[in-house]
Symmetry: C4
Subunit: 348 residues, 4 copies
Amino acid sequence: MISNRKEEHIRIAENEKVESEHNFWDDIKIIHRAMPEVNFDEIDLSVDFLGKKIGAPMIISSMTGGVEVAKKINRNLAAAAEKFNIPMGVGSMRAAVEKKELADSFSVINDFNIPVRFANIGAPQLIDQAKPAFRDADIDYVMDLIHADFLIIHFNFLQEMIQPEGDRNGKGVKKRVSEIASSYPVIVKETGNGFSREDALELKDAGVRAIDVGGLGGTSFAAIEYYRALKANDEEKANSGLSFWNWGIPSPAAIKYCDVGIPVIGSGGLRTGLDLAKALMLGAVAGGFARTLLRSADDSQESIFKRVSFILRDLKIAMFLTGQTRPYGLRRVKYFVLEPLRSWMEAV
Amino acid sequence: MISNRKEEHIRIAENEKVESEHNFWDDIKIIHRAMPEVNFDEIDLSVDFLGKKIGAPMIISSMTGGVEVAKKINRNLAAAAEKFNIPMGVGSMRAAVEKKELADSFSVINDFNIPVRFANIGAPQLIDQAKPAFRDADIDYVMDLIHADFLIIHFNFLQEMIQPEGDRNGKGVKKRVSEIASSYPVIVKETGNGFSREDALELKDAGVRAIDVGGLGGTSFAAIEYYRALKANDEEKANSGLSFWNWGIPSPAAIKYCDVGIPVIGSGGLRTGLDLAKALMLGAVAGGFARTLLRSADDSQESIFKRVSFILRDLKIAMFLTGQTRPYGLRRVKYFVLEPLRSWMEAV
Amino acid sequence: MISNRKEEHIRIAENEKVESEHNFWDDIKIIHRAMPEVNFDEIDLSVDFLGKKIGAPMIISSMTGGVEVAKKINRNLAAAAEKFNIPMGVGSMRAAVEKKELADSFSVINDFNIPVRFANIGAPQLIDQAKPAFRDADIDYVMDLIHADFLIIHFNFLQEMIQPEGDRNGKGVKKRVSEIASSYPVIVKETGNGFSREDALELKDAGVRAIDVGGLGGTSFAAIEYYRALKANDEEKANSGLSFWNWGIPSPAAIKYCDVGIPVIGSGGLRTGLDLAKALMLGAVAGGFARTLLRSADDSQESIFKRVSFILRDLKIAMFLTGQTRPYGLRRVKYFVLEPLRSWMEAV
Amino acid sequence: MISNRKEEHIRIAENEKVESEHNFWDDIKIIHRAMPEVNFDEIDLSVDFLGKKIGAPMIISSMTGGVEVAKKINRNLAAAAEKFNIPMGVGSMRAAVEKKELADSFSVINDFNIPVRFANIGAPQLIDQAKPAFRDADIDYVMDLIHADFLIIHFNFLQEMIQPEGDRNGKGVKKRVSEIASSYPVIVKETGNGFSREDALELKDAGVRAIDVGGLGGTSFAAIEYYRALKANDEEKANSGLSFWNWGIPSPAAIKYCDVGIPVIGSGGLRTGLDLAKALMLGAVAGGFARTLLRSADDSQESIFKRVSFILRDLKIAMFLTGQTRPYGLRRVKYFVLEPLRSWMEAV
Ligand SMILES: Cc1cc2nc3c(=O)[nH]c(=O)nc-3n(C[C@H](O)[C@H](O)[C@H](O)COP(=O)(O)O)c2cc1C
Ligand SMILES: Cc1cc2nc3c(=O)[nH]c(=O)nc-3n(C[C@H](O)[C@H](O)[C@H](O)COP(=O)(O)O)c2cc1C
Ligand SMILES: Cc1cc2nc3c(=O)[nH]c(=O)nc-3n(C[C@H](O)[C@H](O)[C@H](O)COP(=O)(O)O)c2cc1C
Ligand SMILES: Cc1cc2nc3c(=O)[nH]c(=O)nc-3n(C[C@H](O)[C@H](O)[C@H](O)COP(=O)(O)O)c2cc1C
């Protein structure tokens, strides 16, 4: 069941139109510097990321595991994470807990020298649902399985509402996050709908180390689940998938909303290094890419190497053309925001 | 004549493009809560509606009666109203008064246990037109016919202007509404063009219990009558139908305009439970659905049950994702408004 | 030459896409009144127009004359002007002066009882150009020819720039207008590009009785002349026609700009009685229709009667739905303005 | 290599869709004068341009040289510069320095009597890159080669990032510009991405005589290089070409940003004399045209004569219709700015 679902997610994300109707990164306009006084070859993308030095402020976002095809994808992604010395997450590890024989689709990344590894579990699974909640032992297991530096707890309650087997309880999540955050280094992450200012404040209170905004503008899980529901003749879920296709807080707005005094990772809809530069301008410590990497990782190691190198090259170009040699220098760059993103930014 | 017209309205509404050019519910943006701290299964949609407890803040809007096909539609709608314990209206009951043999296309709903029933007459028929005005006895008759809790007086002067047999006098309506409202529990309702602040203040003065805004954004009766006029080779009416296709006050703006101290029902262009959630956020006590339900009700009981359950499910999802367990909690949720609706909201 | 040109204007206006890219009347939004308290049959469109009582605040704008086909068109327009008791203009009367045998294509309107008649000459012809300027005797002649109540002096300098045989001098026009206005009742009129505030102030100074704004949004003479130039293989003029296709001040903005203390006629792009209602809301004393009437007038008397009656009917509906029984009551009606017209309105 | 590239640039600019997604000149709206009180034939386009009297405030922007086809193009452009008495630039003269046998593709313009001649070298070539930097002797050579009045130093760092053989160092450019500007009359120019306020201030400090903004809105060199990369199967560059297709500061905004007390030339995306009028309204001393002239110049002398005369005619029409007889009078004309340009203008 899980593994089937995992494969479907991948195939739909690769082949269908699953994006939200507007990509809000396009609403950010940057003031170009014609005379940048920078040597492109001196641009150094390395940054300090949550205490670790990494090659670039780019993260390979949590995507897969728990199914045969995931092994290849995770291996290729891990090879890229090693090559470019950037952090990487794996997909939700519930599958690994439930079926230990699937564990190697995650642990395959252990063959690579990755600077920061993120284990991944879902917030809904922290509390009792149809199935019993994740226990501390389970967390230990998933952390160990990939020698994780951080535990990502992903929030995907919209997806739960649209997928057939979805968890329906959100009560008690905050308390449990708080408990876990006192024993493990936790990062919270949305999966395409973003966090509000209120969410951010409560999660900071709960002791999380960072927030990965996972905002609206790129992959829509309502869309992905819509396609699954269609195939399964589940009219109810397909209907909700359409209704909530564009639900959520645009990624750039979410970065602003989450500016509450802990590090913020910008993600959701990043396509290029230019989008990534915009996330960094807004104050993100790094930007996370998911679907933009998927097809390349599924294709070959060479292909994902190219994809990541293109992204980093475009980031460098954006830095070059704004006169910056270090990523966090982008925070000083002038930009402004057009509608509809402007209204979102002002709504906090 | 009437019955022919009634059937045409249904067929056109089912089969033609009869919506206004923009649905303004799309201009409302909601701030998502990633960590809602709500158990979906504890969400309780029941509300107090004008003194009665109902299953959800959703109304089956007045649509039909007075023609054979209406009987089936009203029966199915009534079955849904019973099943989901929600209020229901029938279409304009002039037909029942004029031809008593058509009465059962309305009274068919008496077979069902419906929490709140709305009788329905047109404001233009309250005064003398080509035909004599509705008398108190007529009102008694229609109220009794369906054991109505409220009398809806609908305002549809634009439609009157476009339909061949339209009533042309609006003078004296206010006084007559006032008289009737002193003897009967009256709700006023537009049919797709909304009420202005001035209308709302005058109607409150006249003693009505609630206002159902019936605003612009969904079914356009200018459009429906345009198609009828085309068919009838009535160039004059067809011409006016085109001119006034998009006339009126958008439903969400009308909710704001009608916020004058009596309950407001949000309607006009509601397609999903997400739209309904927006109406409730703006302060409506319930939202009314018409054309969205029509085809399902005409199809089968199973079909309309599904349709209503989908709407309520989407409402629940919107509540869940904004951290609310009770419908009126939605009034605390953060949202904002984009153009062109923003200008409409500011124009009051 | 002239008569050929006149015929071409008509054929192009009837058959080609000659409108500017945006019709700004659509940017005006009106607040509907659901309970208008008006009897449609008591709506009285008659108004006082520059001292004369007329049947409705609608003008048949200056269009044609000086060519065979014009006779039929002017006859049909005049029949409509008589029937609906509304003012009417004829096209530029230079042709009548130059070739007296063409005079009856104008004077044909004398067979009809028209409340207000406008003679028409071009501002560029008031001063010496390639041809000598219009003399007082010429003005006397054209006024007498159609028993005119007012002399319209039309401003069309953009058209002059695009048409092959265009006049190129604008210097001295103001002085000559001033002289003429001291002997004749003069109305100035643009032909699709509107008047600015500065123009309006100077023309008021010059003693004109009223300004007919003839703004951007409907027929574009740059467009019409573009098609003529294309046909004539005149690349230079065709090029300018494209460049200036959308040049000018939108009609509704021009009404505001021209609000300098003399009566303003709203025209340019009026399609329906709803557009006309908007012009009246903005303060115009009447609205002028040109191209909207052309094809009907060229077709038959029956056809133009219908067209005018439809326009007046829609005006009445707009009045009815905003609670007005008299045209100038529309000035009290609430409306607001969307972009891009909003910026134009604020630019005065 | 260079010559191949030069030819490719021309062919791509002539045949492919190489413009940025929006032309911002369209966002500027001008207030028309219906009664301009100007004699078209008295309009005098001549202006003082950096100390020299020229026939019109129009510049033939730097485009080509260093390849066979350039000779014909430059000869035709030079003939037009002579005929209309307007300044002219040639393309980057690196080619002439590296291969003296190509020099006549530039010096061909010496056969014509041109009021102002611009030599042209690239800012990146002022410092050591893969190849050694331009020396003073090289500058002397290129100035002499075409008897140049000014040395244009063009900034094109985005293009360098996208083209295969691109220079990557921007450090030291400012110092070198400053040195050169103390010995030669220097104008700086962008090639489609504009200058920021900061750039302008630094370049003024460096002693340049004028800034030619070369802003976003017309030819996109990211686009041109994208097509070249495609053809060369260079995925990396093609990818960056797409990412940065619309990068830069819109030309009209750049004119405002560069208003720092030295003359500003408006360029980038000018298509017609109407666009040129807008540049002059914003305060530019002249407007530069590149791609708009290319195909005509490549076609024939007759063709480029026509093209330039059309542009100047449209400029005159814009002046006529705003009541101006001299180009710099356009600075007094009323205009305003719509979105998205408005936000760009306010971002300085
Ligand atoms: C096929 C697929 C599977 C995903 N699985 C997970 C997951 O297991 N855990 C998680 O935190 N996010 C998951 N995500 C969400 C992504 O990490 C990311 O937040 C989201 O796709 C938005 O980013 P994008 O627009 O760059 O794709 C998945 C995304 C995709 C496309
Ligand atoms: C076929 C049809 C018949 C209707 N008949 C009535 C009626 O008799 N009385 C009434 O008050 N409204 C009537 N309405 C109007 C609806 O109640 C509602 O106000 C309007 O359609 C806008 O809502 P919608 O966009 O959800 O369809 C009718 C609507 C439709 C589509
Ligand atoms: C075929 C045609 C001929 C016209 N001839 C004249 C004319 O001779 N004199 C004049 O003042 N306006 C003339 N006009 C301009 C109109 O009176 C009017 O100002 C302009 O067309 C804009 O209005 P519209 O958008 O309603 O067409 C003419 C318009 C058309 C379409
Ligand atoms: C084919 C081509 C070659 C060009 N070569 C040069 C050049 O060598 N030096 C330079 O300063 N600009 C060069 N440019 C840039 C133009 O001068 C101009 O800045 C740019 O094209 C934007 O203007 P446009 O939108 O009018 O084309 C070139 C442009 C084109 C189309």
